[in-house]
């Protein structure tokens, strides 16, 4: 099912600040979409608005062509998975999965069949008679997913479903969620603050900051072609290095730097992994090696430039020592330019 927000705004209290501002987007049928952003950006609120647990102060929400703005969670038929799983502790795994069906008045035989089917799907069949407290975090999350899918929801919503799991299990469950979503074809919205999570499993990622959509595109595009400074800095680790235009314009062809400035570019960004060690003539930056971090096969170097600016460089292949004076350059196609408001400036020649 398709979800459409039409200029939705949300404010919890009249005097409070607006949590979401004039938000419009489409979520395609059968897709898995992540909402990604720092804490407090409004991503959970967006999810609550889709679910019908909260209602917008302004704007409309459509499920396919139906206006569901005023409909509650039950009428919208959503399934939801919570960060802390929110399983009913006094009920067995089987009863947990059947609970939504019981509420809907489905007969016992059908409920049991469905519970078995879903338990097989999420691979917890051998635990059906246990209580949630006897299961591990990953297993509880599987039960929560099964419960959310029990009433064949029009849409599956997941609010930071992996953040209570340890790192290894998180990667495993991430793949599981993708598999389950593919197998059932249910439209899924996944809220997270972890970019790796969002980028690895989503068809589309919606980056949110301060209640405004920064960019809504496929994961690769977010990284390769960010719409603005926020997205450019938010995605990628270590963070993109940002320079004042005047500090690096000498290393750009004159016609390009002239055009960029005409278009209002004041900042330039270069990702830590785009730098190439070079001789000082082609260098964009030259500085003293301040710190070298080696994690496994990754080598990260921090340079201090003459201006005092600190620059991170990732994937360095040459072994420097701390205190060495080194130069790095990059291709102009690896540079991103932004105007004073943080919007991306693109010149055709720079592409």
């Amino acid at each position: 099912m398709e979800v459409r927000f039409n200029s939705v705004s949300m404010q919890y209290d009249e005097n409070d600040k607006t949590v979401l501002k004039d938000m419009s987007f489409d979520i395609e049928n059968h897709s898995l979409v992540s909402i990604l952003g720092p804490s407090g950006c409004g991503k959970s609120t967006t999810l609550m608005l889709i679910s019908g647990l909260l209602f917008p102060t302004d704007g409309q929400i459509f499920f396919d062509d139906k206006d569901v703005t005023k409909k509650d969670a039950v009428q919208r038929k959503v399934g939801m998975v919570f960060q802390n799983y929110a399983l009913y502790p006094h009920l067995s795994v089987q009863d947990n999965i059947m609970f939504p069906l019981k509420m809907a008045g489905v007969n016992k035989k059908k409920r049991l069949e469905k519970a078995q089917e879903l338990a097989d799907l999420v691979q917890i069949s051998e635990h059906l008679n246990k209580k949630p407290g006897q299961l591990s975090g990953g297993q509880q999350q599987r039960v929560a997913i099964a419960r959310a899918l029990a009433k064949e929801p029009s849409i599956l919503l997941m609010d930071e479903p992996l953040s209570n799991l340890d790192a290894k299990l998180r990667t495993e469950m991430r793949e599981e969620i993708r598999r389950i979503q593919k197998e059932t074809g249910v439209t899924t919205v996944f809220v997270t603050h972890d970019q790796e999570e969002a980028l690895s499993i989503s068809d589309k990622v919606m980056v949110l900051n301060e209640g405004v959509i920064q960019q809504n595109s496929n994961p690769q595009q977010l990284y390769d072609d960010p719409d603005n400074l926020f997205v450019a800095r938010f995605l990628g680790s270590p963070e993109m290095n940002i320079f004042e235009m005047e500090d690096i314009e000498d290393s750009l062809p004159q016609n390009i730097s002239g055009r960029l400035k005409q278009q209002g570019a004041v900042l330039a960004g270069i990702r830590p992994e785009s730098w190439i060690h070079t001789n000082s003539e082609e260098a964009v930056i030259t500085g003293i090696t301040e710190r070298i971090e080696i994690v496994g096969k990754e080598r990260k170097v921090s340079l201090v430039l003459e201006s005092g600016q600190m620059v991170d460089i990732a994937d360095v292949e040459i072994n420097f020592r701390e205190g060495d004076m080194v130069s790095f350059g990059t291709d102009i196609s690896n540079m991103f330019f932004f105007d004073g408001d943080g919007n991306r400036v693109v010149t055709t020649d720079a592409e």
Binding site: S51, L53, G79, Y88, H90, P100, M103, R147, A148
Partner: protein, 273 residues
């Protein structure tokens, strides 16, 4: 050695404590089997010369204990059911719902707990008298259908249950009412049982109020009925003790069944997370 003597000391102290608790019960049961002379003899007679089981039969003939028992059971049952229902519903409202003046209202309720119960006896009596409820079950039950303390215990428990569970239930198509009975109540079982236990014991043992609002024999409850053995001519202790034993046995059985919850509940009151 030091270990053994420390343990011995602990056991002696515990033994003394246990003895202190048991002696009144022993005295009650022993006296219920004595003759009238032995019951009041000085120095006290610790073991009856011959068991006077006939005391029990006689005690039952002095007053209509069957009726008293029925009244006690009826009053305890109804006021307990009533209090559980009002406490659960009120606790849900205070813990989960949002309404105007909620905090002030709850503060007011709590404030009523500061008022000593004795202060309320006269106004309550007058109210009931005006309602013409004296000597009716209404008088014995209605004033005890709600308790702020119970609301408080249950509310604390409800509040410790995660909001997400409420949202999950909403998503699952569960109404507030079903959420209360199918999720909150089962999860609050031990708090609710504590409340029931305290209520049952309190209600079963209530003396002053039933004494005040009833004067007809057929409306009296067991503790009030025990007065029958005290007359102008003195008190028939052996019969009083026989009847007392009879009154207390149901509570002892009740306590044995629920003691796990009573202890847990009291240990958890207010801080249960």
């Amino acid at each position: 050695m030091a270990q053994i003597s420390k343990k011995t000391l602990i056991y002696i102290l515990l033994g003394l404590g246990a003895l202190t608790m048991i002696i009144p019960f022993y005295w009650m049961i022993a006296t219920s089997l004595k003759t009238a002379g032995e019951a009041t003899a000085m120095p006290p007679v610790w073991w009856p010369g011959s068991m006077q089981f006939s005391n029990y039969v006689e005690a039952f003939q002095v007053a209509p204990f069957g009726r008293y028992l029925l009244n006690s059971v009826f009053v305890t049952l109804l006021s307990t059911i009533g209090e559980v229902l009002t406490a659960i519903l009120a606790a849900f409202a205070f813990a989960r719902l949002n309404f105007y003046g909620k905090d002030i209202l709850f503060a007011l309720l709590l404030a009523t707990m500061m008022v000593p119960g004795e202060l309320l006896i006269i106004p309550n009596f007058v109210t009931l008298a005006n309602l013409d409820w004296i000597n009716t079950y209404m008088a014995l039950i209605v004033p005890w259908l709600a308790s702020v303390f119970s609301v408080f215990i249950v509310k604390q428990r409800f509040e410790s249950i995660s909001d997400n569970l409420y949202y999950a239930a909403k998503i699952d198509g569960c109404s507030d009412f079903r959420f209360l009975w199918q999720v909150l109540v089962p999860l609050s079982r031990s708090s609710i049982i504590t409340m029931v236990v305290l209520k049952v014991i309190g209600s079963w043992n209530a003396f002053l109020w039933p004494l005040l609002v009833t004067n007809a024999t057929e409306m009296r409850t067991l503790p009030v009925g025990l007065q029958s053995f005290t007359t102008e001519a003195g008190t028939r202790f052996e019969l009083l003790m026989a009847a007392s034993t009879f009154v207390i046995v149901p509570m002892i059985v009740f306590y044995m069944i629920f003691q796990k919850y009573i202890i847990k509940g009291i240990a958890n009151t207010g801080t249960k997370g």
